[in-house]
Amino acid sequence: MKKFIAWLALCSLISTAGATETKLEKIQVDTSMAAVERGIDNLMGNCHNCHTLKYVKYHDLLHFGISKSKVDAWRGDQPLDAPMTGLLPDTAAMQSFGKIPPDLSLMANAREGGPSYVYAYLLGYYTTAEGLPGNHIFPETKMPDALGISSATDEAQRAEIKSKARDIVSFLTWAADPHKAERHRLGYYVIGYLLVLTLMMYFVKKKIWSRLE
């Protein structure tokens, strides 16, 4: 028994050692309509030029509650059920960055840490000693500092960039799992129903078993 306890203690030591490698600031994602809408405004201005969101269709945005005029401006002459593909042709992307920018539809769920990772990544840019752009979270990144955090010096500007990043993360979290709100809403009803049903089953069981002496 003592041996097992010693092992468990060892295991927990290892786990704390591993945790320090990727230390992300854990953020609370603002899922409000306003934050998501600010997020897509920022995303269309800063990210969508290069990145696709191929699993999100323009009518999904309408359905979510973005105004028709905004969506029409974004989609141009594409139909409403078209996916939000990017504006950057693959060949041009390969020429400028050496790789095709990843699709963002699932980005908020596709990295260890989820939305916190995306937030930390967007704000992880800095200027190296040689004057080159670097990123603390994903050093191999080919993406330039889109939000400009590495060159922002005064506090007000930095705060604005941070809130922009937060809003983008809000939108990406919605885009990765657009039915989440509906799922939670339905979930409360389902669990409530099951609690009542289970309680009733308990009394049924008790009643039936009371026949035995």
């Binding site: 028994m1 097992f4 092992w7 468990l8 060892l10 295991c11 290892i14 786990s15 591993g18 699993y55 999904d60 539809s105 699932l106 769920n109 596709a110 990295r111 260890e112 989820g114 990765a176 799992d177 657009p178 039915h179 799922r183 939670h184 339905l186 979930g187 389902v190 669990i191 099951l194 609690l195 049903l197 289970t198 089953m201 308990y202 049924v204 069981k205 039936i208 078993w209 035995l212």
Partner: protein, 411 residues
């Protein structure tokens, strides 16, 4: 009218007799605890997986260029597609959880002992089928972890003597995991559940021949057996309610906790994820695979670690019934074994470090050690307990079991 219809059927099919024999008259020990609910729950999850799976298959496309997209189509565009998929993906975890508890109960109470060996072995077969089904199903979303998991596991068959390379190609249908692999895994993932249903029927026929074991380990007198219906149907449904509360909490609130983030990235054969982990239910066995430095040895150890359970009726040589109930040493061993499984699971989950490899190797030794030492421990424990004196009911049963055995031998 209803009576006439039933009479008409009974004349041609043993409906009433079947219901009486298997349900309303089927004698079940009245002292079964809630740990005996898990077989029923496993049956329920099986039906749930088949039902959701069939509807998912209506929208899923087994093609390397389409399958990742078709999952997103299900998640976003199909009406309640997200619900179907999360019920199914969470259902896989629920299935293993329920089955592992079902197995742990059998081990704890020694339900694998004579005359229930065939139940235990059909159960072992069911576990293998379940593992194969889950493994193949995991490839279907065609995410990074799907692809690399399938690559790593099919690669293990290289350990087959002489024809290893050919076996791997034969399994994959190609030199690498690709379109051929995906389509065949889909076909087999659809087939295997029906094999499982068939095996479950055999499991149940065996159960209804030998009847349920019970926590005391002693065969109860006739008056202590009660009909399955309505007593155990009502108890099973109450247990089902409790199970569904836990299950639905995961389905509606934490479904992505059970999906690796890397599986939200489409499979990319050119880019290996930094850390390939299997689903939680394979982690202890994965840790055993990694604990052995040699590949063939690792594969053999992993296969053996799953199959060791089948030897339990031979390894446990104690004649004392009731599993851990009357056997303190066995009880300690049982809990240590569970702890060892947790350690192995943890070691399988984290990226290998020097420390974790050593811990994994020690835990692997303990895993096999607890099986190989069982014959000696169980015999010594029996001697010790007999010397200390056993409850009269246990002694009577031991004597009657011994008589039964010698009678069968002399015949």
């Amino acid at each position: 009218m209803a009576k006439r219809i039933i009479d008409w059927i009974d004349h041609r099919f043993p409906l009433t007799r079947f219901i009486k024999h298997e349900l309303t008259g089927y004698p079940t020990p009245r002292n079964l605890s809630y740990w005996w609910n898990f077989g029923f729950l496993a049956g329920f999850v099986l039906v749930l997986q088949v039902a959701t799976g069939i509807f998912l298959a209506m929208h899923y496309k087994a093609d390397v260029t389409l399958s990742f997209d078709s999952i997103q189509h299900i998640m976003r565009d199909v009406n309640y597609g997200w619900l179907l998929r999360y019920l199914h993906s969470t259902g896989a975890s629920a299935f293993f959880l329920v089955i592992y508890i079902h197995m742990a109960r059998t081990l704890y109470y020694g339900s694998y002992r004579a005359p229930r060996e065939l139940m235990w072995w059909t159960g072992q077969g069911l576990l293998l089928l379940l593992m194969a089904t889950a493994f193949m199903g995991y490839l279907l979303p065609w995410g990074q972890m799907s692809f690399w998991g399938a690559t790593v596991i099919t690669n293990l068959f290289r350990a087959t003597p002489f024809i290893g390379d050919q076996v791997v190609i034969w399994l994959r249908g190609d030199y690498t995991v690709g379109d051929a692999t995906l389509t065949r895994f889909f076909a087999l993932h659809y087939l295997f559940p029906f094999l499982i249903i068939g095996a479950v029927l055999i499991h149940l026929v065996a159960l209804h021949t030998v009847r349920s074991s019970n926590p005391s380990g002693i065969d109860l007198k006739a008056k202590d057996n009660i009909p399955f219906h309505p007593y155990f149907t009502s108890k099973d449904f109450y247990g089902l309610g409790l199970f569904l509360i836990v299950y639905c909490t995961f389905v509606f609130f934490f479904p992505d906790k059970l999906i690796e983030p890397a599986n939200n990235i489409p499979a990319n054969p050119m880019q290996t994820p930094t850390h390939i982990v299997p689903e939680w239910y394979f982690l202890p066995f994965y840790a055993i695979l990694r604990a052995v430095p040699n590949m063939v040895g690792g594969v053999v150890a992993m296969g053996l670690s799953v199959m060791m359970f089948a030897f339990m009726p031979f390894l446990d040589r104690s004649r004392i019934p009731g599993g851990a109930h009357f056997r303190p040493w066995f009880r300690i061993q049982f809990y240590l074994f569970l702890l060892d499984m947790l350690v192995l699971g943890y070691v399988g989950y984290i990226p290998p470090t020097n420390n974790s490899i050593v811990i994994g190797q020690i835990a692997t030794l303990c895993y096999f050690g607890s099986f190989f030492l069982l014959p000696f421990i169980s015999k010594a424990e029996e001697r010790w307990l007999v010397k200390r004196g056993l409850p009269p009911a246990v002694q009577t049963l031991m004597v009657s079991e011994a008589e039964e055995k010698s009678r069968r031998k002399s015949r």
